[in-house]
Symmetry: C2
Subunit: 143 residues, 2 copies
């Protein structure tokens, strides 16, 4: 299970690494900060230091197991790498994050980069807006 992925990444299979990977795979919220992970581990009764959480997430990122994003709040969020690229749309009211992929946008980006003489290594598109879903928690709470 998780052990193999960690081993494949060239890392020793340790309790913190297994627990963090497990947590990323089972968390209801895919996009979590290091602090979130730390708190969830504490809540689950795991004694794992915040520094370790940062180290492990960084290693997982280097190994391609997770992706790191910089949304507008100043801290980073991590998510399990599902293998397929996608962009994000975030509700400025409730913070809900939705993912999407649009081949038209992807294609235009490649064309633009070429026109400007760049060789794309990656890109990050984030749309901010208000989610209009009546059933969203932020509507029920009225914030």
């Amino acid at each position: 299970m998780e052990d193999q992925e960690i081993r494949k990444a060239g890392l020793k299979v340790t309790v913190p690494r297994v627990k963090i990977l497990e947590l990323l795979e089972t968390s209801p919220e895919r996009h979590v900060s290091a602090e979130d992970v730390y708190k969830m581990l504490l809540a689950a009764g795991e004694e794992i230091g915040l520094a370790t959480v940062y180290r492990v997430l960084t290693q997982f990122e280097a190994a391609g197991l997770v992706e790191k994003h910089h949304f507008e709040d100043g801290y980073s969020v991590f998510e399990l790498n599902k293998g397929k690229h996608h962009d994000h749309i975030i509700c400025v009211t409730c913070g809900r994050v939705e993912e999407f992929v649009d081949e038209t946008i992807e294609k235009r980006q490649r064309i633009i980069a070429e026109e400007l003489g760049f060789q794309i290594s990656e890109h990050e598109l984030v749309i901010y807006g208000k989610c209009l879903d009546k059933n969203c928690d932020c509507k029920k709470r009225g914030d």
Copy 2:
């Protein structure tokens, strides 16, 4: 000149504000960090505190005079608001920033937001890549 814009923003016309706005208008690099601004002011012989630079830039942003962006390096960069929205492509080698606008991408974003039930307030698209321009400083330096 600058005085009017500052006054229009509902702010008193002070030396720090005028100097910072001047600097943003004349700087060869459009995208600057607070630290950059601070250092440029020092270099120009101005005695303006870093805290003031942050405060002024934040006020300018609130007033719509400048825009703040979060690229991948952990700190924020500011640029003069020219009025028309644009996205960025950044060279991961030399840090050069180019701006672009693509109506196709803009349109797709509006459609995606609508489909997902969001009302767009803003968005940020950043493409990272290597610039292939032989004349770019980063090529000449060979980094």
